[in-house]
Symmetry: D2
Subunit: 146 residues, 4 copies
Amino acid sequence: MARNDFKFCHRLRVRYAETDAQGIVFNAHYLTYFDTAIYEYLRALHYDYHTHVRERGQDFHTVKAVVEFHRPCRFDDEIDVGVRVLRLGRSSLTFHLEVLLKDGEDPHASGQVIWVNADQESGTSVKLPGELVERIKRHDGNSSLV
Amino acid sequence: MARNDFKFCHRLRVRYAETDAQGIVFNAHYLTYFDTAIYEYLRALHYDYHTHVRERGQDFHTVKAVVEFHRPCRFDDEIDVGVRVLRLGRSSLTFHLEVLLKDGEDPHASGQVIWVNADQESGTSVKLPGELVERIKRHDGNSSLV
Amino acid sequence: MARNDFKFCHRLRVRYAETDAQGIVFNAHYLTYFDTAIYEYLRALHYDYHTHVRERGQDFHTVKAVVEFHRPCRFDDEIDVGVRVLRLGRSSLTFHLEVLLKDGEDPHASGQVIWVNADQESGTSVKLPGELVERIKRHDGNSSLV
Amino acid sequence: MARNDFKFCHRLRVRYAETDAQGIVFNAHYLTYFDTAIYEYLRALHYDYHTHVRERGQDFHTVKAVVEFHRPCRFDDEIDVGVRVLRLGRSSLTFHLEVLLKDGEDPHASGQVIWVNADQESGTSVKLPGELVERIKRHDGNSSLV
């Protein structure tokens, strides 16, 4: 995918704390970047995560994550984390994510994260709220979703 | 202080994830080392933190932390984190901590962490459980406590 | 200190990754917030850290950090990290830092961080570059510095 | 896979710092557990990473990571991270990893990590040292490798 396949990007700057002795961002932090960008994507959709948790009594569980590391990011780099929903299941969301330098076209990292919506009492998966599904379809476009 | 001022040390090995672009352990991780070693100190005292939280309905809040960085630690270093209680208040515990290399005598980092025991409902400070105070006094010795 | 004692604040949003099982930001992450805000303060001063490292062959070592935790921060909180220089030594910089909620007046955390400028070859402390000292004095005001 | 498919396990204890507001280990930390366990696996093989870096002038780059989250881990859990090499390429190593509770049989997380051996000067991939390949084959058994 390329930068303009993403209708939403979250910009952040690499912190010194995120670098490692190779002078590059340590691999685990990309999952934190992905996670952070997904919450920002929900915010961009005006879907309120706090209502989801407190009023619906539901929460999202990360069930799978994949990251491919193409080129390193370094301290102070300004990066854009592109987020789009690739697949909408009954209770699951598959996000595709890419990390690009602010002025770059080639991804430095890319991957998928799968979330399952779960009832907090029972811990079992529950249907995604219709409101969330609608907002995602409206934002990312029906056609792009599998 | 020196190594043999500590009756308890927690050994751990520096992870690659904890290094930064200077090739040394990033400063914030020393607070994680301190925190981890304090829980191990409680375990060494046979004081059950989970009972403290679930049955007493109390929990410890970190209210202050001080770290001095004397010499860097590096990837793969085996370190000992010495823990002792410096001061016992009505509801507070002041820990003194030092990070030494496994075979070293000079601290690479040293500091204090202050915990306050709090009631989880009200959020206000509450008296330390007598059982915890007794165990600390027996372990670290009355004389050393202020 | 109060919010308007700071001429520089760095805004950031608490990440889910930074919370702990108490539902609040884990204590060590405040040192990461402090560190991140200090680099942003240098940027605001138009002092180029990368030149400092690559061309001058110098780097800053954190030698001491103090944090007081007044009130917790939580997931999604927008916080301002105020930074000012409290003391300018020959080779050392003492920063005072406070963490406030975006719309709040009372600090949730406050502390100091001391950096020493060091020659990367020898590892020994070296005089702060005159350019950096000048920029700090101009920004924070002579009178406020000890 | 099951526990006894692993000839090497690295035991560690979940730190408070690694939990999140859901009360479970935050997803990104599993990559840190994987990374830490891989270095311990190399140590168990008596393959010296520091010699690899300093004398050979080579280093490993993580090019892909996959994690599946089956059941959460919590503060204080003692976990075993099983490591085995699944595939040996010319310059690449594919590790299979599983996280199990100390006394458990079912994985709480599982995944793969792919490392590529690279020359530090040129940044390009280079053949895995014969010594490393031999040690892996001897440890994990020829038959199990693809």
